[in-house]
Amino acid sequence: MGGEFTEEADMEVLPSMWPEDIGSEARKQFNMEQPGANRDMLEDVTIKEDPSVVDFKRLLELTNYSEKGSSQLTYLVKHWEYRHTNAVRLLNEELNILSKQRQEVELKKLEILEEHRFEDDKHAGSKRPVSILEEACDVWGRVPRKRNDVAAYNRNLDIDAEYDTAMYWKQRALQLEKMLQETIKREDALMQKLLENIKNLETQSSPVEELSQILKRADNFLHFILQTAPVVIGHQDKELRYRFIYNHFPRLEEEDIIGKTDEEIFSGAGVKEIQDFKREVLERGSPAKREIKFDTPLFGSKTFLIYVEPVFSKAGDTIGVNYMGMDVTDQVARRERMAKLREEIAVQKAKETELNKTIHITEETMRAKQMLATMSHEIRSPLTGVVGMAEILGTTKLDREQRQLLDVMLSSGDLVLQLINDILDLSKVESGAMKLEDTKFRPREVVRHVLQTAAASLKKELMLEGHVADDVPVEVIGDVLRIRQILTNLISNAIKFTHEGKVGINLHAVSKQCPGCQERHNQGLTAALQSTRLAKENSSETQSYIDRESSHCSTCQNNLDQNSTEKHHLTNEDTEKHNQQYEKIVWLRCEVYDTGIGIPEKALPSLFKKYMQASADHARKYGGTGLGLAICKQLVELMGGNLTVTSKEHCGSTFTFVLPCKVPSKRENSDDHDENEAISDSEITADSSSDEINGSFVFKPLTRGTLFSSDGSMVCKTKLFGSSMLDALHISNGLSESDSYSSNDCTSRKRLSSDRVSAISDAKKMQAEPKGPAQQSLGHNVNDFGRINKRDEGCQDSTNGFVMHKFDSSIMDSSRTQRNTGLQQGKMASSERANMAESVKSLPTCQSPTHEKEDTCMSDGSSFKILLVEDNKINVMVAQSMMRQLGHRIDVVNNGLEAIRALQRSHYDLIFMDVCMPVMDGMQATRLIRSFEENGYWDASVTNGNDHTMTSSDSLTHGPDAGQSRKRIPIIAMTANSLAESAADCLANGMDSFVSKPVTFQNLKQCLKQYLPC
């Protein structure tokens, strides 16, 4: 075999496996280890002498060492050998034959030459063989030609000459000569043939050539296949140096690659890995596949699927690796995308199931809530029945005892309702279904009511205090029910855990936005206001301030009409930051403090959690659901505020919440109050108004019975009235406190009597003694205030409310006096005073009952004239009846036109105007009335309609007092839909306020109080 290889080595000619077309390319896809000369390997022949032996050595080595290569070669060589030994054998045989013949012929020649020599010797002297031959030449020349056709091997020479004669020998020699020549010729021919054969042999394909052809085909095939395949094929030796590489994406010259390792060629992510992988394959000796991510500066981020197989030597040692890499970046990306998608789908599915679960839970919760709602409804329904019926019962004639019982019933019923509402509320807040209903309310009243309500159920010797700072607006907008709920909750909590001392509410505004701009607005008042603020604890000063204000106002505004009064009223409101036409946010900070048992530090975090109380002990001792604070917190947060607590054990706790509230624009002021008002009788209202002025309330410990002391004359039919009655009672109770009453029934009765006495006396005072102690001019009232206040403060520490009571009645007296003396002026003054007071409503509130009483008492021509413009019979009936109960008589007309006619006929103090009416609606009528008030004549449209009435009415109205006739008559709209929009419409059309239908006692009363000066 060795021989074969040498032969191959010689044949290095190998036309290189690589197709010619790629040879010229600068960057070859095929890079073979053929240092230097490999460029020539395309030209078969020249390469022959090339030193490329060296580089082929590697291939040799490879084929030598690697079993695969050697076996392939062996097979090829054997095949070739077999064919050629055959040929050689045949040729040799022929050669043998030929040489035998030749020897024979030469032997014969020698014999003949022997004979000739003899002959020559004989005839040496006489004849020259040449000459003879010359002659004979012709003969000979002919003979061979003839003989040529004769068989060459004719050994028997025919000689026709006589044997042993000279002729005979000559002939014989010639014949032999010819034979010899023939033989030589044949020999030549054979030789030629041999040469030809040899030549043939030479030209015949050598094993190398055949091999190379096979290889070339394989190469072409491979090339054909690999031309566009995104693969890299390579072979690396034991040290992982590239010996061969085919790269579809050539970026490097082969000298950059061959003989180097991956790590030397590339850098970046993945290179180390592939190196390790190859090494691993080398070590393990078994092929493996792996996907490797590269991120190299050379070709960027790509993923290759690498297949590496080890190459063994015949001895079984690994001598290198073949490796094949395919760019699968796209596939990987796609796969990853798929994976991601699948993952997303999975996530989606998970979410879906989660959602389903949530939905399920929600449904469950809803069902539970539904059940809760149904349950509470089930409880509520009969309860409402009880309460409702109790209220209805309250409308019937009852004696005092019955009424007291009824009130207990009502308040208990309310309590139970409240409890149920609590539970409902919590679930509502939690489910986010709680909606806040913004209404206008008066923080002072809320605080007062809460305290009153708390005092109503108070069974301990506790002092309940309330303090509302002056900077708290009179009215704010918020969900009063919820705020109240929070306060009530906190207060009842405080009371529950407080055994002695006091419980109270502090309410003040905190500036989250700079209030300075508003204050600058009316600097005149600012100073006074601030002084008021500074002295806000000192209620007497506040009072005097207000009184000063009021006196000031009344003096400077005597000649102005109602309209400007209102303006001034506005200015006054400004002290409460109330002036803005747009809504403004005020942050109210409310502190509910107590001197109770306090909350241990460790219980604070769980305090606001549901069903949690400071400790199980507490729960046992104090009861309760543990829902209260949770509700409070959630409600406060729902309203955009926060609730915090500070506490010291055994000293008390303070719950503080801060709430943003809108401040209503002035125009809509005091239109509708959801607040219950204390309106039952003069004392009560007087007290409440004073409370509002002061912003301080104190409820001393009192006893249950007193709660139910009520003035028989009071109209107390609905729940609302009931609670307002309670309010009144607490205050009146406080009043009697100064007389140090301390115990139930008898006390209450006593106090009742005293109340009644005082009420009666008040009324009497109003009626009979117009020149009472407070009958002086308004200017003097200041002194009165101070005096009374001081005196009262002296004897009963901070019960300002009661002081105010007295004071207010004096105001009323004075106003009454004024009215009696000079009707118009008195009206003005009182209305102004009403405006002076911090609350728009408070004083009128106190005044109207007086008026009522007066009406019922006097019921003569001096009562007010009220016009009701309403087309709906039912509404007319109801309103009429209500007015009658309120002690007013009203004229009724059915549409706007009739209203104008009625106005032309006579004067009215107040008009209730339906908005939607046939012929002329309320808006139009109001516009016309207003334009009349301004211009002094009726609009053409009306004038045309009733010429005669107009003139007469004109004379009528203008006659007595022009100024008065042009006074702005309060017109109150009665709207079926009390939406803000229609309210704005009403106001825009010149109406003063509006009552939403259906008209209720309360609305009516409020309006009357506000717009009917007394």
Binding site: G388, N875, M877, S881
Partner: protein, 157 residues
């Protein structure tokens, strides 16, 4: 307190009222109405209610006739009628009637004939219900007064 029959009747009445309240047929306004009834006008509520019924029946009839023809329906007129009905219903506290009226009015504002018709049907139903129930109530009231008369009458006179 009261005679036995009267007590029972009153209980029945209250139950009925409670029912009406809970069903939302009536609201507080009805109580206001009741408050208006006193010695000076002992039959105030029933008077008002009967006027209400009289008026409402007229209105309902008108509404029915207004809605008779789909093509020439005067929606403004319907609106006026409804306002009337709404006004009086809210005055007596007929809450559900009022609510239906609201829906009716919304339908009429959209000139939605079929909606109007549907509303009218509901309205009539509600109205009938209210009427029967209130009749029932007044009947009981009458009986009660009669039963209680024995006790109250001398007191009153």
């Amino acid at each position: 307190m009261l005679g036995l029959g009267a007590a029972r009747l009153e209980a029945d009445m209250n139950r009925l009222m409670a029912l009406l309240f809970h069903q939302g047929v009536l609201d507080e306004q009805f109580m206001q109405l009741q408050q208006l009834q006193d010695e000076s006008s002992p039959n105030f509520v029933s008077e008002v209610i009967s006027i209400y019924f009289r008026e409402s029946e007229k209105l309902l009839k008108n509404l029915r006739s207004l809605l008779a023809d789909r093509e020439c329906t005067d929606y403004t007129k319907i609106g006026i009628h409804l306002n009337q009905l709404m006004g009086s219903s809210s005055s007596i506290g007929a809450k559900r009637v009022r609510t239906v009226c609201l829906a009716f009015r919304a339908a009429s504002e959209h000139s939605n004939w079929s909606g109007c018709l549907r509303s009218l049907e509901v309205l009539e139903h509600e109205y009938c219900y209210l009427k029967t129930k209130l009749h029932e109530l007044f009947q009981m009231e009458q009986h009660r007064v009669m039963a209680a008369g024995a006790r109250y009458h001398p007191a009153l006179s």
